[in-house]
Structure formats: C-alpha cells, structure tokens
Symmetry: C2
Subunit: 386 residues, 2 copies
Amino acid sequence: MASADFGHEPLQAWLVSTRCVACMSNVYAVILAGGSGTRFWPASRRLRPKQLLPIAPGSDEALIRSTARRLTALIPTERILVSTNAALLEATRAALPDIPAENFLAEPAPRNTAPCIGWANSVIARRDPKAVMAVLPSDHHIADEPAFVSMLTEAIQSAQAGVVTTIGVEPTRPETGYGYIEVGAPLLGRTFRVQRFVEKPDRAKAQEYLLQGNYLWNSGMFFFRVDILGAAIQSHMPELDTGLRQIEAAFAQGPSAYAQTLERVFPHLPSISIDYGVIEKESELNVVRGGFGWSDLGSWPSVWELSAQDSDGNAVTPTTLLVDSHRNLVQSMQTGGSKRIMALVGIDDLCIIETDDACLILPRERAQDVRAVVELLKEKGRQDLL
Amino acid sequence: MASADFGHEPLQAWLVSTRCVACMSNVYAVILAGGSGTRFWPASRRLRPKQLLPIAPGSDEALIRSTARRLTALIPTERILVSTNAALLEATRAALPDIPAENFLAEPAPRNTAPCIGWANSVIARRDPKAVMAVLPSDHHIADEPAFVSMLTEAIQSAQAGVVTTIGVEPTRPETGYGYIEVGAPLLGRTFRVQRFVEKPDRAKAQEYLLQGNYLWNSGMFFFRVDILGAAIQSHMPELDTGLRQIEAAFAQGPSAYAQTLERVFPHLPSISIDYGVIEKESELNVVRGGFGWSDLGSWPSVWELSAQDSDGNAVTPTTLLVDSHRNLVQSMQTGGSKRIMALVGIDDLCIIETDDACLILPRERAQDVRAVVELLKEKGRQDLL
C-alpha cells in the first residue's frame, strides 16, 4: 500500500515535532453535510436537516457552524470545504457565511460517503497534491473544545506522516449505538495503531468493551494525505477511481464541462461508505484516543442527556412550568423563541418538541419512533411538514 | 312550613294534568353563572370561566348557551334570568345575546348560592308572585335533551303544586364526586319524595348506592314556587330574609337607590349554599328521577369520557397524529382552530390542552392538579395567564 513510503521512521519524526505550525499550512477539512434524517422531526425538515439546527445544549449555533468554528482553531475558512447536495446548498451556505462559495461541493446524487469524499479528495489534491485532509461529520457535539483541538492536531500530524488516522473516543458508558475501534500498539502521545474496527455491539459486548478499556467509540472523523487516499481508492475501489478521474479530467475543459461530467458520472459511482470501501481495507491505520465530551447527538434523548438539568432532571425552555414532573426535555424551535407557556403536571420522561407548525410528544425511550410520524405525514401528503 | 298550604291534594291534582301548557306561562328559570374555577385551565381564565367555554363534546356552543337553549323548549328567553357577577357580566351577556339585558343579575360580591338565588327569587316574585322558578347550573352537559325536557316538565309541575323539587340522575357508575339523593315514597310518574340528601360518598358507599338503586346523583337543579322559597328563607334564614327585603324595598326608589342598596347590603348577606341554608331544611321535598346523559363536566377527563373516541380510546383534534397512543384527550382552544400538528408517539392516558398562549400536559388521573399550575402562575405574577 501507498503508506509504505511513510513507514515508522517518518511517523516518529513528526511525533517529536508536535505543534509544528508550518505543518498546518497544507491542511484542509471537509465537513460532511449532505445528511438528512427524521430523528429530529419536527425541528428537522427535508430542507433543514439536523446539521442546520441549533440543538446543541447551551448553544444557539447550528451544529455545522459549531463544527466549522472548532476547525478554525487550526484551519482557515479558505481551506474548509463542505460536502452537501443541491437541495441543501443554499441553506448550508447561509449557515456558513465565512466559508468561500467555491468550497461548497454539491453532490448531484446521494451515493454514500466514498464518492463524495473521493471527489473532495480530487478537488483538494488539485489545489495541493501533498495536502492533508480532515473529514468530519457536520452534526456532532463536542463539549470540550480545547481537548478536541489538541486531538485534531495529533490526528493531522499522524496523517501527515502517511497513515490514515481516525479519532477514537474513550467510552463513558456501554453504548450500543456506536461502532468501536479496538486499540493496538501505542505509538506516541495519544496515537495508537488500530487493531480493528467493530460493528455496533450488543449490550453485553458493549459492557465488556467498557471494562476492557482498549475499545474506543468510532467518531467518524478521518485524517489522511490526499495522495495516500487517492492511492487507496485506486487500490481498493478501482471503479470509483476511474469515475473520479473522468470528473477531474473535465475540470480543465471549463466549469460547464466539469458540471456536466459531474452530473453524468457521479450518480453512477459505487454507493458505499468510505469506511467500508476504503479505510478499513488499509493495512495500517492509526487512532488518536481521548475524551472531549463527544456525542453524535443521535436523537432527542441525547439532547436531554447533554443539557443542563434541574434537580428533577428536567431540561426545559424558560417558559415551561413544572409540577411534580421529572426527567423531561422541552425544546422549542418556534420563530422568535417560545412564548407559549408549556405546563407539565405529573409528567415523567417525555420529550416535547415545539415548532411553529407542530408539536411532538413522546417518551424518551420511544425517540427512535419519530420516523413513524414522518411516515404518517408522507402518507397524508403533508409535504409542508416534512 | 309554608308548603303546608299546598299539601298532597293539589300535588295529586297537577300530576293528572301533566303537559298543561298554560301552567308554563308563569315559569321562570335562573341560570347560575357566577362560577369561576381552575379545573379547565388553560382554556378557562378569570374572565372566561368554564360556563363560557365550548367544551361540551361534539358542540361548539358555550356551555351556558346550551343550558339556555335547552330551557327555551319550555321557557321563553324573556323569562330566563342569569345570575352572574360584575366581572363576568359583559362576557356572559355576549354569550347569551337572546336574553334581555335586564335579566342579568350581577352579584356585587360572591356570597355562595343562597343570597343570589334569594335575590333572583325577589326579582321574579315582583314580576309574578305565583311564579315557579327553576334554578340550574350553567356549566353542565346533557346528552339526551328530549329526556331532559320531559323531566324538566315534571319537576316544574311538582314545584307548581308547592313542593320544592329537585332532579335526581340515575347513577351509571360508583361516582364519588357527586352528592346523592336517597329516594323515598313514589308519587306519580318519575316523581318521588326525597328521603334524604347524602354527602359525596367513599368508593364502597358509592358502589352500595349504585347496587341499591334508590340513590340518585344530585344534579344541583331546583324547582319551587317563589312564594314557597320566600317563606322558606324567612323561616330558615331570617337574616338573609331581612337583607333581601331591604334590597327589594329600595326598588321602588328607582334604579340608583336599588343599585346602591344592593351594593351596601348584598356583600354582608350570609354566605351559604341554598342547599344547606334552605332546601335541605324543608320537611318535604320531591325528586324527579331519570337518566338523560347528565354530567357536571367536572374536569378534562369528563370531556374525554363523553367525547367520541377512536378505537384506541383517543379523543383528539383533527390535526392530531397518533402512533401507538391510547386513551388521550387532545383539545385545542386556539383562535381560528388548531392548525399545528400535534404528534403523539407511544403516549397513553394524557390530557393535552392547547390555547394560543399555553399548553397543558397531564395524565388523566392528575387532572385535579391543574390548580397547582394556576397557583404557580399566581406566584410568578402571570396575571395574563390566569
């Protein structure tokens, strides 16, 4: 594999020169923001998906804006790219006014992460063939930002040495909703070899991983040199490689030819995640391990868990009145803030989410069933609420 | 007692002449509409109490308007009086535009029912000293209106014969929230002597009453001749009698003197219910027994019980979406109707009440605790929501 050229010796060289500012001048980030989902309905909609919502506890910033802001500690906005799609392009640009318009890459069709990261890789490689690229989800929450920036630095330096690197989060509970990374040999600092990636475990396995201490949550953040990823795509996904080369070749023929080729080729690229298609097939991978208050904010209960709670465990809007009620989440996404009084009497463990046009009430343990409401709205033809 | 003049012989005389239309020409009704309460918050407010709300299942009519409408089958609007208070006068008149303005009696101070019914008795006696008066709560629900009108007729005829008469509802469940009437000797038709009044029973007693079959729910409706009630007040509540005579004496001195005397005397009249102060002290009372789908609509769960329910027991607004939810009440008192979608997932046995400025959520079994929210709003000085 390509990383053979950048084996242990150079890796150890950079590990000594940590915090080398010059090393950061070729670092790019790609924020993945093509996602849509139903788990945050009624706050989220087709054209206002989770990453565009200000649902992080204690913040009124859209999640994607927080993601970009955290990166700017190391990477200037000119080198932050955003991968999204045509439908979300306008709203995503509006959420990130500091990022140059040409840095937004709109996929012509959803093809999972391998094609869109591959495309971003070509775009960045064109700007700087030796660039290091960080790929980050747009919709996660990070409580300890300084700790995160420090891990980011280590992950970038590991990637600069030629090894695809990920960030692994030290688990704090036996979570069955995340994939895990088994930690291998220590390198330096918080950087380790990856032993293997593990699918979402059952409860017993998750408990075991937590006790063993050598399993980390897969944060979905990847770091690599663009030449390394290009070679890995060529090696593991030749079909994708061919498509990406066709698209890139059209760049020289001007914007119109480029757009047309993209429209023609992209929708037929193999639809697979970069994890399965490329990264997990690499023979050597590094992971930087740490804790930085990370959460993928998977559903409303995550928002409740991370929020400041009163002594009865409630996390509610200022206009909520509580009588003998416990462990509830009350969120309002109403225009101009919540003005209505929400009064709860003898209510426990509910999530109550208000928008201008909808109110959702469900027990925390039923949070995954929001999708049933969305299905019902589809059946009823209520496009206005989707 | 005064009714001795109208003993069994005349009583039996009228019982033969049932449905005598001529007998109805001296019948007046007084609707008691001075009540305020918190059990229907957030729909009810200080200036919009329960009787002014359209909360009867399947109806968009304020409860008091339904009460008046039901009476007009027997009594023209000119002979329907409404007892209310100064604060509610305007809103109550607005709800009953067909009733002449002078038929609204505004108590200067809340003194329970004996003073206000006594005052109405004087006013009606002035118009017709032999009048029969029906006293009815303004905020009850009656499902079977023809059956009710038929019972009303019998009760009026019993009262015309000189015996204070009440309507007793055949119980359909072991209700602990109502007072009961033990039925005595049968007279004719559905009219019986009253054996005794019984306070709200415990569950075991209520169950016993239901099985025995000779206990009826006290509907709070009373019927009497004004001369009989006048004599009863004189006999059982001489202090009230003196006060009422003072007020009545001022009538001849013109509206201003009348109003001033009312303002001066009324607030000092003994504060007691007509039941305890007068009626239950009468040695002979009649009760007309029957079933007519009566409910005092005591709280939100009564609304749920009486509403049309889907196969899962839900009674909800048309804009409610239900997923695996059972036995819920969703009511909207929003201006212009409910437009927001209310989505429930995995929710059972809740009452959810929406207005423009508030939303209340509580389990059906906690309905009585609405008052705690109202207390909290008072503490917070939120007069706008009371």
